[in-house]
Subunit: 180 residues, 2 copies
Amino acid sequence: MTDATASTPILPPAGTERLLRIQEVAAETGLTTRAIRYYEEMGLLEPAARSDGAYRLFDASDLERLRFIRSLRDDAGFSLAQIGQLLEDDVARERNRERFRSTTDLDERRTLIVDAQARVDRQIATLEEKAARLTEMIDAARGRRRHLDAHMAELDGGRDPHPGSGAHPHPGGEGTDPSR
Amino acid sequence: MTDATASTPILPPAGTERLLRIQEVAAETGLTTRAIRYYEEMGLLEPAARSDGAYRLFDASDLERLRFIRSLRDDAGFSLAQIGQLLEDDVARERNRERFRSTTDLDERRTLIVDAQARVDRQIATLEEKAARLTEMIDAARGRRRHLDAHMAELDGGRDPHPGSGAHPHPGGEGTDPSR
DNA sequence: CTAGACCTTGACGTTGACGTAAAGGTTAGC
DNA sequence: GCTAACCTTTACGTCAACGTCAAGGTCTAG
């Protein structure tokens, strides 16, 4: 995929985590570097860290988040604004993990988790609504398919599938057409 | 809904069908007149007829088609290009209904129906693929939710939900974080 | 310590999907 | 046959979501 000169391990897998630079993240997520920067600009995420020279450095949760964004965009067809709504202040919260991990008392931990649960529930609800719409569309398409089958049977079997008038001005009631 | 000056029956419901002008179609479908013209320009549909003065006139199948386009755009999140792919030469075929209705012999009718079945099958397959993707996303979100529940139980019950190392460097394998 | 690949922040260009205004015909009720 | 409401095409404007330079700094293997 790439040339031989640039594919070097670069960072030894230190004990901390293993941070990726933007191009690796792009390759990993299927996004472009421009898109990733744009998403940051839109407030959809904040890279885990910056190097001394201001290089963006991403951790595993950033990857997960970017893949989620990509899915929301490509698979669910949401706009970045909608995605921002769904992820909401998730960004800030997620960055508080360090604080969460270390000191905060149990009550605050509970609060953070409950908030996260609420966000995830909203995400699930939104996705399920969209899935329901899609199911409706699929059902409608299946209906059209059955309609075609009926017309086909009419031709083959000589039976008229929708008896009504003798002629052809819309027999049933609404859109009864063969060519869909 | 509308004002009193403009809502006049205009066309008596003649025997043929009842054709609508673009504004009525817009109100009926929830699209704008501009969008409808744009869709025509993009080859997504062709109005059933034109008046002597070149007014666009739409029939019931046009309405159905426009509602379908709107669903594909809003609910499924397809681009107009993708929608064009899905509807393909459906446009031309649909306009051949008159010919279909009247003269063409049975073999040609069969061919037209088989073609239409193939198109609808493709539409169904595409929609189902999208639905599957959405289901995956929903499942993933449910997984995150369960993860949060586990963390919550850990806090409340004092049990560690993912035993491994004593500390916290990613116990399971991938992204194990509480704030999602 | 240097070269080459990588990164940064602007800033302008592009494409899709329309919005909106202009200038002028069309229809239908009176 | 006049007028108000509707329509037509043409054309420029807009917004989102990036693409694509340009000018310059950074990182790391050699």
